[in-house]
């Protein structure tokens, strides 16, 4: 049994090449169809995300599986690229290292953001796409199902996914939750309609926020963002009016000077009735003057405050790395032992069939010669033959199993085939 891997990822390949090698779901299906036509006795799975493109191939027979070079050529052809253009950017792995890599990727240890859960879904999706048009993919099924199981083990056995490391998630899930118990009755004011505001709103919406106002200089963009989150767009001139009733502010404008200073804010303080205000100033330069943090019941967090928390969480995740790797190492070993054990299966089965055929012939001959009519005696002789066969075959078959546990049992398997004249 053979596993081959050719791929590129964010850690070794430039974004330009990654973009060229990226496949859409439809392109994956077309490519896999072409692959099956070229290599009918091989299985293939193509994993393509924004951070990686990995092409896995597996086959029961070493002769049926494409070489790394053939896989690179196939990838280049599928994306309309020259082999020389991508060869140096791609990495290759075989058998145990390929399996270990798959487990590492699925467990999110090779992700740009270690511990991010998205990759598990992408691995699952890649496998599902591969089996969609293929009747049988036993090796890929075994490898990918185990990879999903290993990823779950890593997630539950370590705290690698526990701490959030993106700024919006830390802002909402770690800080806002320390201030507010619930979000459905809070007024969320978004100042600016950038990408960061959008990402933060995703988390706030997940927490139950439903009173959202977007204030932006460009009203069209404000309307677009507000409609995306069932909120309301407000003109820029209403900023301070909106601020009077806000509980949580997400500010992400590109203004070069603070847009809210202590003077105007002090004027609305009384109208706010000293209500708690949580300000997430995610803009650089800052949108809220630093003095605003001095007002009672105002909690002002800048991007630097959140960034340092993210860094700390990232370090905390990295501490879990060795533990996660130990899980992957053990699971890879177990998987390869199982693959090797399965490799011995057909040969062992053939040897047993051969022995059973000989036994049957000899039993018939003996029964006829001795003119045995007693079924009980016949049965006893049959059992005796079986015991003889088992005792004779047990040591060599056990040796093969032992060899399979420690690695690929090709030596003894070939010897057995030659000794018993078994052909594939």
């Amino acid at each position: 049994m053979k596993f081959q891997l050719v791929g590129c990822s964010h850690s070794r390949t430039s974004i330009e090449i990654r973009e060229k090698l990226a496949f859409s779901a439809e392109q994956v299906q077309v490519a896999l169809k072409q692959f099956r036509e070229s290599y009918p006795n091989s299985e293939a799975v193509l994993l393509s995300t924004c951070n990686r493109t990995e092409f896995y191939a597996a086959s029961e027979s070493e002769s049926a599986i494409p070489t790394h070079q053939q896989m690179i050529e196939f990838l280049a052809r599928a994306r309309g690229l020259k082999v020389d253009e991508i060869r140096s950017e791609l990495f290759t792995e075989s058998d145990e290292t390929a399996v270990r890599h798959l487990f590492t990727v699925a467990s999110s240890l090779d992700s740009m953001v270690i511990g991010e859960a998205q990759i598990l879904g992408q691995v699952k999706q890649a496998y599902e796409l591969a089996v969609q048009d293929s009747l049988s993919m036993p090796l890929s099924h075994m490898a990918f199902q185990t990879a999903l199981m290993v990823a779950k083990k890593v997630a539950s056995g370590t705290s690698i996914q526990h701490k959030r490391i993106s700024i919006p998630s830390v802002a909402v899930c770690e800080f806002a939750r320390q201030i507010f118990e619930r979000f459905d009755d809070k007024k969320i004011l978004v100042i600016g309609a950038g990408e960061m505001a959008e990402e933060t709103l995703v988390y706030l919406k997940a927490e139950g926020a439903n009173r959202i106002s977007v204030v932006n200089r460009n009203m069209d963009r404000a309307l677009e963002l507000a409609s995306q989150f069932d909120g309301q767009a407000r003109p820029w001139k209403d900023l301070m009016v909106e601020l009077e009733s806000a509980d949580l502010v997400v500010s992400t404008t590109g203004a070069t000077e603070p847009i809210v200073t202590s003077g105007p804010f002090g004027k609305i303080k009384e109208k706010r009735m000293d209500r708690t205000l949580f300000v997430l100033d995610l803009a650089i330069p800052r949108d809220f003057a630093a003095e605003i943090a001095e007002f009672p019941n105002v909690y002002l967090f800048t991007i630097d405050d959140l960034q340092s928390q993210c860094e700390e969480n990232r370090r905390s995740r990295e501490k879990e790395w060795p533990k996660a790797q130990r899980i992957i190492e053990k699971e890879t070993g177990d998987f390869m032992a199982e693959v090797n054990r399965r490799m011995t299966g057909p040969t062992i089965k053939r040897v047993r069939e051969l022995a059973a055929e000989i036994k049957e012939l000899e039993l018939v001959r003996l029964v006829n010669k001795l003119e045995l009519r007693d079924e009980k005696i016949e049965k006893e002789i049959s059992i005796s033959f079986d015991r003889l066969i088992n005792k004779l075959l047990h040591p060599p078959l056990e040796s093969i199993r032992d060899e399979a546990r420690s690695g690929e049992p090709t030596g003894l398997l070939n010897a057995l085939k030659r000794l018993f004249q078994i052909t594939d």
């Binding site: 770690e174 800080f175 708690t276 009672p296 928390q309």
Partner: protein
């Protein structure tokens, strides 16, 4: 069930101490089974304390009110505080509320031990309905005010941490500011209502006693008028808070809870030092009444 009679104050105080040590250790390192150990010790201590209170009550008053003395009163208050702690720990497993509540519970047990030798409440008083209402409502008001104080304290801690933008990765976790503020406010309102019941039932008791032979506790009693001042303060704070929103926003709510709590502490100190309601106190009140009556006759 003989072993239950061997439960001593040390048993449950030690259980609470272990739970407190577990809470403190949460600040320094992670341990997977610690929460269960901590909660288990809390529950075990609470069970032991409950059994102890029941047995002590039976021993001293038959099957009636557990408020047989100031010592029992303090024990019952600590029992309710620890029960509240366990409920809070169950609701907010990550929050270290025990760091604030358990020391108060242990302090009440300590006071109960110090007051062990003080005279008991008069048996007939302890069994009367109005005395039970009076003692019970003031007991609940005290426990809830203690909780309000703890919530306010936690609010200030949490607020200071967020103001300084301390990292959330620190092991010290507390409930959200909103929850703490609402809980402090509710505790203050509920405690004031219960205090009102306590004061009114106190007046009823005074009236009952003045009609009978035992004129005991009157309006001139410093405990009575200080209780009224405390109640008036709590009521004022609650009413102003309800009427004017900024008063109950943020840290102000915590400060108001503190002021009520310190009033309560003063009141408790006065009550406990005077042995309010116990037999000695009633006898001395009777003596004073006797002297006053004699003076009135002479004049």
């Amino acid at each position: 069930m003989d072993f239950l009679s061997k439960i001593t104050v040390t048993c449950f105080a030690a259980s609470y101490l272990v739970a407190l040590l577990c809470e403190i250790s949460r600040l320094f390192f992670r341990l997977p089974v610690r929460w269960a150990i901590m909660f288990g010790f809390g529950v075990a201590g609470l069970f032991a304390q409950g059994v102890y209170i029941v047995l002590q009550t039976k021993m001293k008053l038959g099957d009636h009110s557990p408020l047989a003395s100031w010592s029992a009163w303090c024990l019952l208050a600590s029992f309710l505080l620890v029960a509240s702690y366990l409920w809070l720990t169950y609701r907010h497993p990550k929050a270290q509320t025990g760091l604030f509540i358990l020391p108060l519970g242990l302090a009440l047990i300590g006071i109960a031990e110090l007051m062990r030798e003080t005279p008991q409440f008069k048996e007939s008083s302890a069994r009367s309905i109005w005395n039970s209402v009076h003692g019970g409502s003031l007991l609940l008001a005290t426990v809830i005010m203690f909780l309000g104080f703890v919530m306010g304290l936690m609010y200030l801690f949490q607020s200071a941490r967020l103001k300084q933008r301390l990292k959330t990765a620190t092991r010290f976790k507390l409930p959200s500011l909103e929850w703490l503020q609402n809980s402090t406010e509710r505790a203050l309102v509920l405690s004031t209502v219960l205090m009102g019941f306590g004061v009114i039932s106190g007046f009823v008791l005074a009236a009952i006693h003045s009609n009978g032979a035992q004129k005991s506790v009157g309006v001139g009693d410093p405990i009575v008028w200080s209780s009224m001042v405390m109640f008036a303060w709590c009521l004022g704070v609650t009413l102003v808070g309800r009427a004017y929103k900024p008063v109950r926003s943020g840290r102000k709510m915590a400060y108001l809870a503190f002021s009520c709590f310190f009033f309560l502490l003063l009141e408790l100190a006065l009550v406990l030092s005077a042995g309010h309601g116990n037999e000695q106190d009633l006898q001395s009140a009777k003596r004073i009444d006797g002297i006053r009556s004699a003076q009135e006759v002479r004049s």
